[in-house]
């Protein structure tokens, strides 16, 4: 029986060609001979997107060549054989690429370990434990990446070079952007003083982009920059100086508002408000002030002891440009986890 592919003469009754392996029972086989067709929409889409895909492919090939040259600088190596782009894209989540390639158990282990470190790390965000757990999560992520990329046998130096390269890619490509976004949207800050409703040691999340569109409002708990103050005396004669640094406190009044503080009640422009300084123990008995333009009234909660009227005004008025963000969530302790209202 002659093979239709390579014209080799096979023995009768044989199922596959002895030379090329093609099936000899093709003539009687039941199979579809109609090829798959693209829809008109798919063809239009491809016409538009193909130049972009080609561009990305060239960019990817260039990156591979550059990485290969970097690694080859450490000595002769077998040709770098990287996984497919669609596999590499799944490395964003540790274990996903392994599962996609069929290594289910290994992928599952990486995924579970990563989740076990990442989730508690995020839960303890802003604390030392959280930082350690997030560091472990990154280590597991880097290990999963390297486990997939190392497809051949490489020497120690090459593996070090690949470790550095993949860690750098992970840091620059994933963790740095995510970290920057988190730093702006959820920067953790630890309170050092007691002020209702907060306690010392509370970790608050600060949103640095909260006031991009709308200005701060009275009642907002904000993170602001306090400038160095001169040495001053409290009413009890204690010398004090407030160093420069970030601080968290509540805004009591906005620009142009007339503030009257009397017997624990705050009035803004003649209307009573529910807001009070975070640390009412250090608030004066009676106080009247008009907030200048472009400044906000934030009574300093960190100062122990009542202030003289002259120093009270200078320390309480914060320029609008020094307000860095809004503290909107109490992250720690977990027993009082929730939004700040």
């Amino acid at each position: 029986m002659q093979c239709a592919n390579c014209r080799f003469e096979n023995m009768p009754g044989v199922a596959a060609c002895g030379r090329c392996g093609s099936s000899l029972r093709l003539a009687t086989a039941v199979m579809d001979v109609q090829p798959p067709r693209a829809t008109a929409f798919a063809k239009r889409w491809r016409r538009w997107s193909l130049p972009t895909q080609r561009g990305w492919r060239r960019f990817w090939d260039t990156c591979l060549t550059a990485t290969s040259r970097f690694i080859h600088a450490f000595g002769d190596t077998p040709e770098l054989d990287m996984p497919l782009p669609r596999v590499l894209a799944r490395l964003v989540v540790p274990g996903w690429a392994h599962i996609y390639c069929g290594h289910r158990w290994r992928g599952g282990v990486f995924l579970v370990l990563f989740a076990a470190c990442l989730l508690p790390g995020l839960l303890y965000w802003g604390t030392a434990l959280g930082a350690n757990l997030l560091g472990l999560a990154f280590g597991i992520h880097a290990s999963a990446t390297l486990d997939l990329i190392w497809q051949g046998r490489y020497g120690f130096l090459h593996r070090m070079a690949m470790s550095l390269t993949s860690s750098a890619v992970l840091v620059v490509g994933l963790y740095l952007p995510v970290g920057l976004v988190l730093h702006c949207l959820a920067a953790p800050r630890v309170l050092e003083f007691v002020g209702q409703p907060f306690e010392a040691g509370d970790v608050l999340l600060v949103n640095r982009w909260a006031y991009v569109r709308t200005p701060p409002q009275p009642g907002d708990v904000v993170c602001f920059w306090r400038h160095d103050s001169p040495v001053f005396q409290t009413e009890r004669g204690v010398n004090m100086r407030v160093p420069a640094g970030e601080d968290i406190d509540r805004i009591l009044a906005g620009p142009g508002m007339k503030v009257v503080w009397e017997n624990g009640t705050l009035q803004l422009d003649g209307l009573a408000t529910p807001w009070q300084p975070l640390n009412t123990a250090v608030a004066p008995q009676r106080w009247q002030v008009t907030v200048p333009k472009d400044t906000y009234l934030i009574y300093p909660s960190i100062i122990q002891g009542a202030l003289t009227p002259a120093h009270r005004q200078s320390l309480s008025l914060v320029a609008a440009k020094d307000i860095q963000g809004k503290a909107y969530f109490r992250w720690q302790p977990l027993s009082r986890w929730g939004r700040i209202r």
């Binding site: 239709a4 592919n5 090329c20 093609s22 090829p35 798959p36 063809k43 491809r46 193909l50």
Partner: protein, 258 residues
């Protein structure tokens, strides 16, 4: 049965057979394959694809049918489908050089040049030679903007003197944006087959790409003389007439690519 062998039915007095009995062709795979190639030579790739499929329905062992389907899918710009179909064909006809070349062409046009190169190298390593494998090799070199494409195409023409070969080479150059080279090969096809309307049509398109408006018009008119119902040539002539007065045309004349 032997007793029916000498039956004489519907014969004329001089014993000659009636022409009507022999006019109906036998619609086997060769018939459909012939129709497919005929349509391919006129640029009707959809019909050619259908006829290749019909040929395969009759005989699935026809490698030319599978190859023709892949080539038509590539001509119709359905590259992922051509690649998929090539993979299926290669499961049946393992390591067939032409099928490997077909997959290489589909992948090259889809943008995956590295894989296409590997497949093309594999196809040239297989037994036998064919013009198509060298055409695909040349296309890969064109896509990579390397200089040796001319040698591959010359080799392809040496292996097969059919006019379809220079025509398809012209199509390859045109696809990759080299209208000058495409026009040279289209002219070769026209010289080999001056009676083929599709060659004139392709020459006209290449001349349009080069803004050689008068020459293009002549080519399309010649195409219409040979095939009065050639819709693409009519459309191209209308396009020429409409664009000749526009500002876009003037800009193309000044800054158009050669």
């Amino acid at each position: 049965m032997s007793r029916f062998d000498r039956l004489e039915m519907d014969q004329s007095s001089d014993g000659k057979e009636q022409p009507s009995e022999r006019d109906d062709p036998v619609r086997d795979e060769r018939y459909w394959l012939g129709l497919a190639v005929e349509n391919r030579r006129t640029g009707c790739y959809e019909s050619a694809l259908r006829y290749y499929s019909r040929a395969l329905e009759n005989d699935k062992t026809l490698v030319a049918g599978w190859l023709g389907q892949m080539q038509m899918l590539v001509a119709l710009e359905e590259y992922p489908e051509a690649d998929l179909w090539g993979r299926k064909a290669l499961e049946i006809f393992r390591n067939n050089g032409d099928l490997l070349a077909g997959r290489a062409q589909a992948l090259c046009r889809a943008g995956d040049r590295k894989k296409a190169q590997d497949l093309c190298d594999g196809s040239l390593r297989q037994e036998g030679q064919s013009s198509y494998r060298w055409q695909v090799r040349g296309e890969l070199l064109v896509a990579a903007a390397q200089e040796l494409d001319r040698h591959c195409f010359d080799k392809a023409v040496l292996l097969d003197a059919d006019w379809l070969v220079p025509l398809e080479i012209a199509l390859i150059y045109r696809h990759h944006g080299y209208p000058t080279k495409a026009q040279l090969w289209a002219r070769q096809a026209v010289e080999k087959a001056p009676q083929a309307p599709y060659c004139w049509y392709l020459q006209g398109r290449c001349e349009m790409d080069l803004n050689l408006i008068r020459q293009a018009k002549k080519s399309f008119e010649h195409c219409l003389e040979l095939a009065p119902k050639h819709a693409d040539a009519e459309r191209s002539l209308r396009e020429l007439a409409q664009s000749s007065g526009s500002w876009k045309f003037s800009l193309r004349q000044l800054f158009g690519r050669r």
